[in-house]
């Protein structure tokens, strides 16, 4: 019928429209993302995943800011003058399990570990002829190094943490994995470094100081053995790097190290550029790209030390603020005074290895050699070294090493751990409860994960 067909034309509009647009409507492409199964599929994507893992390591919630904020604020070089009260908890050593910085750092560490695990698991399976074995080994080796670094930081901060070595594919994949003991975690760090050492090129011609090299593995091993009190190994691994003097040496002017990126001083330096910035400088200055908040200032005690006879050039770390309010002394004169969030993180540098070696030698009763290592660092900073003459007592030397570490490695996230491993933290920082030397596992973690237990002294 005529009547009918005329209207069925109108009625056909939605049907026609349907045919062309429904599929588009219900299956839009996620343009910003790739599906998990297409993540690591060839050499190019494996490289991208490794770059991503470094970016996870350097993220603001980890090395970029939060790790440094917490660790350095906990020691006696820093005081808190900031805005957000929960950050003050680190300064007064009364950290709550609901502290958001603790939770962000914890999350960032495990996301770094997860992305390392993805590389460790996926790279061997990638079907790509152009991806040679040496390249694969190097990629996997770097991932093991990064994982070791993350677990090392975890065990130093929390002690009893879960060990995850499989990449996460679903929310139940780590069910039941509970806290390990510190010894188990330290063993994991050692094992990972061992694997990394075997996979990374044994004697590279050039060193990329922004990526993990075999020397970074040696250096971290040296630090690990220092923490474990295995003095000979600490010494041996320090030697392995120090002897590569063509590649690694103390730069002649202390400030030159801070003013230039990737000097011979650096073994592993986490890089920041305009494309990946960190907000660390904002903690010190009332101005910075990320909104400077000036939350941290050096303690008077540290200022006195740095400006004293044994500070030498290291006093130039400090900066007098000349704009009102006058009288504020802050830190960062050399490296991020001109910062736009692109200042480096000195994760491992040669000066630390001299001081590790000095401490190890002292422990091994090689006192004069130990003193010489301290003197090398002292003289490079053009500081007085008269106090080092005639030292013979092991404990005196160790005290000198610790003071030297405090100055030389100031605000490089060592002091808090040095005080703890030397058993001095409670006395120096006036912490009555030994449990406060470890941080609480974030409260939200305990709420969601029945396998986890809180550290003693918290609930």
């Amino acid at each position: 019928m005529k009547f009918k067909s005329k209207y069925s034309l109108i009625w056909a509009i939605p049907f026609l429209f349907f045919g062309s647009s429904c599929k588009d409507l219900l299956d839009p492409k996620p343009l910003l993302y790739v599906a998990e199964e297409n993540s690591i599929v060839n050499k190019k994507s494996a490289d991208a995943a490794l770059i991503g893992t470094y970016s996870a390591l350097g993220q603001n919630n980890y090395q970029g800011n939060t790790f440094r904020y917490i660790v350095n604020l906990a020691d006696d070089n820093l005081r808190w003058v900031g805005n957000s009260p929960s950050n003050r908890e680190f300064d007064v050593h009364a950290v709550f399990a609901t502290n958001t910085s603790v939770s962000s750092l914890w999350g960032a560490l495990y996301s770094t570990i997860n992305s390392s695990n993805n590389i460790i698991q996926s790279v061997p399976k990638v079907n790509d002829q152009t991806f040679g074995q040496a390249d694969r080994n190097a990629a996997i080796g770097e991932a093991y190094f990064i994982r070791a670094l993350a677990y090392f930081d975890l065990v130093r901060l929390w002690g009893n943490v879960p060990i995850i070595t499989e990449s996460t594919r679903n929310p139940n994949s780590a069910d039941g994995i509970g806290n390990s003991t510190p010894a188990q975690v330290y063993k994991q760090v050692g094992d990972d470094l061992e694997v990394a050492q075997n996979l990374l090129p044994a004697s590279p011609v050039t060193v990329n100081r922004n990526r993990a090299s075999i020397y970074a593995v040696y250096a971290l091993k040296s630090r690990l053995f220092l923490y474990l009190g295995q003095w000979q190994q600490a010494l041996d691994y320090a030697d392995l790097v120090i002897k590569e003097s063509a590649k690694f040496s103390l730069v002649s002017s202390y400030s030159a190290f801070f003013n230039t990126k990737n000097t011979t001083e650096s073994i592993f330096e986490i890089d920041y550029t305009i494309n990946n910035k960190n907000s660390w400088a904002g903690n010190w200055f009332a101005s910075n790209l990320t909104g400077g908040t000036r939350e941290l200032l050096p303690t008077d005690e540290f200022i006195a030390l740095a400006r004293g006879p044994y500070g030498g050039d290291r006093k130039s770390l400090l900066l007098d603020i000349n704009t009102p309010p006058k009288g504020i002394i802050t830190y960062g004169n050399m490296n991020f005074k001109i910062s736009t969030g692109e200042n480096q993180v000195y994760a491992l540098r040669i000066a630390e290895l001299y001081l590790i070696r000095a401490e190890a030698k002292a422990e091994l009763n090689r006192i004069p050699e130990a003193v010489e290592d301290i003197r090398i660092i002292r003289l490079r900073a053009k500081a007085k070294d008269d106090d080092l003459n005639g030292l013979s007592d092991k404990s005196q030397v160790i005290t000198k090493v610790l003071q030297e570490r405090r100055l030389e490695l100031a605000y490089e996230s060592h002091r808090w751990f040095d005080l703890i491993r030397r058993g001095l933290a409670q006395q120096v920082l006036g912490i009555s409860d030994v449990n406060k030397l470890r941080y609480p596992i974030p409260r939200q973690e305990l709420l969601v994960d029945p396998a986890l237990k809180q550290n003693p002294g918290y609930n």
């Binding site: 909104g291 908040t293 396998a451």
Partner: protein
């Protein structure tokens, strides 16, 4: 059934099939009916007559005259006359129809007849707009609140949503901030979701209005409101659909209620009517923070020093001769807070013209609105233009076009919760510190921005463009059977530019200026088909059937670029900067829906209706895409029963009940169900990839079941009306960003987990108290309760000062309970909940929540002769507010010289034996930073929201100038607030960008108190 074959060939995919089949079946049913018409002409009589308007006597052209029981029709000519030659014999029944007039039925027994038609407006009064249709209020089975445009016309705010405050029961509205054009906290019958949206759906003239904010550059917790794009002056009426029976036809989008906005349209055969409205207002803050004086700061800081064992001769405030900055009494008190406030002007101009001839209706409306914030330099400006056109091609075919063009301009500042914000700088910087350096430059003596610099130097603008356009065609297939197709676009774009020069905290050397330019765009395309069938049999059986489908596509894009290092402060655009970084992103979502509703009413006494909507969302995996949302309702108008009539008490008595399901998927990320990696994780200037989220292929619709019972009572010929509702909403399969153990490398996964209930009573009362000719008084009152409970949640979720946990409501504040201050030593004593002798997180407890026990409004309209007076109160009782301003400023010495303090700090403990709740001054320990319920306050308030007085000029005076109406008025907003709250305003929410936080106050200025004067003029 040829048509089905053809449709099947065009079928896109199996997934659409269920809803599609439903649609086709219904279509086929109507086609069958459509072809069953036959006619038989015969000549037996001749009838002549005229048709005219009953009120004006105007002849009506084009009215249709039908003889009942036949298909024989005639049409009135230019003189309103008609002529019939028909096979029928006298007497017979004529049915006369004319658009815009009531249909008239009369028996004729001879020629000629003169028929007078009554305009339809009388009948329209009780029509309520509902989803995809309109219904008689008397026969509604569901819960719908109506607010007329008149009711809200004098309120000097930017957004329609904000105007709803206190106007309807069950609708909780609270302004987040005093910044005009920014987001509003609005909840219809509570909050039913944690991670999906809790905002109602906005529908303007049948077209979904996107209310996704386009703000991409943070100003510290506040967001620009897309609802402010709509000119309130264009609004004819607002309907709020509350229960499931009303909202289920919006299916997956109806769970949070639906706000239906009807804009003004012209009417057929009306002379052009011009309306001009103007008002000007001045706003001020209603209250300021009581910061402590320079003297007080000096005393407290010295006391801190001494309490902590400092030496007296080294105290912070000692004489200049001793090397200090002077004694406390020598300190200045610099009023920074006063510097940032202003008497802020508001200007509003509305001009509209509406009318129509026999075929065409038009409405043209223009609006200019400008409002300055009471805190400098924020401003909101809107220029909008609306065209609503309707064209009747013939009696069967009609098309309509609506175009709304809006341009908004905002002046913004980082104003709320950030150290570089104006309010932070003014409030938190201790008062004795200088505002300028000796060299005249801006001083920034603490962590915060210099407030003068923030006001004068910041360049921060947001220019919005919005085009909402709709075209529809309507075809009357048969009497009562209509087909409608509608095509809409809602295009919304915002261009935000900011620039912080080198005189500002953010841009100072070595940055040398930082600026961002961002373009955000949201485009929604909607296509909709609707078939509706209305039929009344024998004047007792009322039947309606509506079916339809909707296709919707939404695309969101953002592009921004940031530059740093500008040559001088005169250069403000990114192009002049030394280095630039940029980003660009895009996301898309689609929704395919089918829906239908059937209703039956018997003699306007018994009513039953049912509806269903099937929705498919691109946000879910293939197997969970479709959601089905049915609802049904019944109503009984007892007042139509003889035994009730005999009581002679009720003019209306109706019981209604409904039950139904609605869904929610709004507000979750577009690809929440997929396992994804993302790029842009840079290192060494190379882009890397990282795991982004875990897959949840089982992700599906969040579903809310709602039960509603209602009672409507009218007394004294409806002079007194009372409506009472009880509802029980229960939401299951909450779309939840479920926290998972972070050891997995992910903090959360989107899942369907958890249940929430909302239960409440709503009462509204309308009374025409006095209806004397010279003096009238209309009163309306509403009160609502809502009890919100998280019925099921696997693990508690902490968010800022709040916790979400099973058995407690949303917006519960989580803190340590302060038992007092130890009179012996001045330290705070907190409740040791677990009795382990330590103060730890295990001692945190829920200390209150932000939900009011009751809330509502009370309005009174008086007229006396030509005067009218409007008095409107709104109130909220029993809600708690976390006063974070007091918490941060109550640092008790731990942040001396960095954070200012409030006068209440002077009540601190000083000597053994002192009884106070403010601990002693000390920079040590944790007295001040532990979250204490001392800062949780009762936020109850009642507020005289609007008071307006108007005067209509006498008609006699106006007639000379061909003006029909002039009204002059003065009004005041937020004139009186009764509250115990210690902050500046109990109507506050700093965390406007976090939907799970309500009643959190941090450094936000009060709502403005506005005085305005204006006029309305019509001719």
């Amino acid at each position: 059934m040829k048509i089905i074959d053809r449709a099947q060939a065009a079928l896109p995919g199996r997934r659409l099939w269920p809803g599609f089949a439903f649609y086709l079946l219904i279509s086929a049913f109507f086609f069958g009916n459509a072809s069953a018409q036959e006619t038989t002409p015969l000549i037996n009589s001749t009838l002549k007559g005229t048709i005219s308007d009953a009120l004006t006597g105007e002849k009506l052209i084009g009215a249709s005259i039908l003889i009942q029981g036949t298909t024989h029709t005639a049409t009135s000519d230019r003189a309103g006359a008609f002529n019939f030659v028909t096979g029928q014999k006298f007497p017979y029944t004529l049915i006369i129809k004319y658009i815009g007039y009531q249909t008239k039925t009369l028996v004729v027994d001879g020629s000629p007849v003169n028929v007078k038609l009554e305009p339809e407006t009388n009948q329209l009064q009780d029509l309520v707009v509902v989803g995809y249709g309109a219904q008689d209020r008397k026969t509604l089975t569901s819960s719908v609140a109506t607010i007329s445009g008149k009711q809200i016309e004098d309120i000097p705010v930017a957004g329609v949503d904000q105007m709803l405050q206190g106007q309807a029961s069950g609708v909780l509205v609270s302004s987040n901030t005093s910044v005009p054009g920014s987001g509003i906290f609005i909840r219809v019958r509570g909050s039913s979701s944690i991670n999906a949206s809790n905002d109602p759906l906005y529908v303007v003239d049948g077209v979904f209005l996107n209310n996704r904010t386009l703000q991409s550059i943070s100003t510290g917790g506040q967001q620009t409101s897309p609802i402010a794009d709509l000119n309130p002056g264009d609004v004819e009426s607002i309907e709020i659909l509350k229960d499931a029976n009303a909202t289920a036809i919006y299916g997956s989008r109806g769970a949070n209620g639906v706000v239906l906005i009807t804009t003004k349209r012209g009417k057929l055969n009306r002379k052009p009517k011009v309306d001009i409205g103007y008002y000007k207002g001045i706003s001020k803050a209603i209250k300021f923070w009581p910061t402590i004086s320079g003297l007080g700061e000096g005393i407290l800081q010295n006391e801190t020093w001494l309490n902590d064992g400092g030496a007296f001769d080294k105290r912070p405030f000692r004489p200049k001769s001793e090397g200090g900055p002077g004694l406390p009494e020598e300190q200045e008190t610099i009023d920074r807070v006063g510097l940032i406030f202003q008497n802020a002007p508001t200007d509003n101009v509305d001009v509209s013209v509406a009318g129509g001839n026999e075929k065409t209706t038009y409405y043209l409306g223009g609006n200019y609105y400008s409002q300055d914030a009471i805190v400098k330099p924020d401003r909101f400006q809107r220029a909008s233009f609306r065209v609503n056109l309707g064209q009747q091609f013939n009696e069967k075919t009609k098309i309509g076009v609506s175009v709304n063009l809006v341009s908004t301009n905002r002046n913004m500042t980082p104003n709320n919760n950030v150290p570089n914000g104006t309010v932070n700088g003014a409030l938190y910087t201790p008062v004795y510190l200088p505002l300028y350096n000796p060299d005249g430059s801006y001083a920034r003596p603490s962590l915060f921005e210099n407030p003068v610099a923030a006001i004068k130097e910041t360049v921060f603008t947001d220019a919005g463009t919005r085009i909402t356009s709709n075209i529809f065609g309507e075809y009357k297939i048969l009497e009562g059977l209509k087909f409608r197709t509608s095509w809409s676009v809602d295009f919304n774009e915002s261009k935000a530019d900011n620039y912080f020069n080198s005189k500002l905290q953010l841009g100072q050397a070595p940055i040398n200026g930082i600026g961002t330019s961002a373009l955000n765009r949201n485009a929604t395309l909607i296509n909709e088909q609707l078939i509706s069938y209305d039929k009344v049999w024998e004047n007792v059986h009322q039947f309606n059937l509506t079916v339809g489908n909707t296709l919707q596509k939404e695309t969101f894009e953002t592009t921004s670029v940031t530059g740093t290092g500008y040559p001088t402060d005169q250069f403000t655009l990114v192009a002049s900067s030394a280095s630039q970084t940029g980003t660009s992103r895009k996301s898309q979502a689609g929704l395919v829906s089918f829906f239908g509703r059937a209703s039956y009413g018997y003699n306007r006494k018994y009513m039953i209706d049912a509806s269903i909507r099937a929705d498919a969302s691109s946000r879910f995996g293939k197997d969970n895409r479709w959601g089905y949302f049915p609802a049904a309702g019944v109503a009984w108008r007892a007042s139509e029963e003889e035994f009730i009539k005999q009581l002679n008490l009720f003019s209306e008595l109706k019981f209604n009940a409904s039950y139904g399901l609605t869904g929610n998927q709004n507000g979750i990320p577009d690809f929440a169900a997929l396992g994804l990696w993302n790029g842009g994780n840079n290192y060494l200037s190379t882009s890397g990839i990282l795991p982004f989220q875990l897959a949840n292929p089982n992700l599906k619709w969040e579903t809310t079941t709602q039960f509603n019972v209602g009672l409507n009572m009218g007394f004294l010929k409806d002079r007194l009306n009372l409506e009472l509702n009880y509802y029980n909403k229960y939401t299951t399969n909450l779309l939840l960003q479920q926290p998972i153990s972070q050891k997995l490398g992910f903090a959360s996964i989107f899942s369907n987990s958890g249940e929430i209930s909302n239960k409440g009573f709503e009462l509204s009362l309308n009374a025409q108290v006095i209806t004397h000719k010279a003096f009238t008084w209309n009163a309306r009152f509403n009160i609502s309760t809502n009890k919100n409970t998280i019925e099921k949640l696997n693990t508690p979720i902490l968010d800022n000062r709040t916790i979400m946990q099973q058995g407690s409501p949303l917006y519960s504040f989580y803190a340590h309970k302060q038992l007092g201050v130890n009179p012996a030593n001045g330290d705070v004593v907190f409740e040791d909940v677990n009795g382990d002798g330590l103060l730890s997180d295990a001692d945190l407890q829920i200390v209150g929540n932000a939900w009011p026990d009751f809330f509502g409004g009370f309005g009174n309209e008086f007229t006396y002769g030509n005067f009218d007076l409007n008095v409107f109160f709104n109130y909220s009782i029993g809600n708690k507010i976390w006063n974070n301003t007091r918490y941060r400023m109550g640092h008790g010495g731990s942040r001396n010289g960095v954070f200012a303090q409030l006068e209440e700090q002077l009540d601190r403990w000083q000597n053994p034996g002192d009884i106070t709740e403010v601990p002693r001054m000390t920079a040590k320990g944790n007295n001040a930073s532990i979250i204490s319920d001392r800062f949780l306050e009762d936020g109850s308030y009642a507020r005289l929201k609007t008071l307006s007085l108007g005067y209509k000029l006498p008609k006699a005076l106006l007639a000379k100038y061909h003006i029909s109406n002039v009204r002059l008025y003065i009004a005041a907003t937020n004139l009186i607030t009764i509250t115990k709250y210690k902050g500046v305003d109990p109507e506050v929410n700093t965390m406007g960008d976090n939907q799970n936080v309500m009643g959190y106050d941090q450094a936000i200025a009060s709502q403005p108190r506005t005085f305005q004067a204006g006029f309305n003029l019509s001719f």
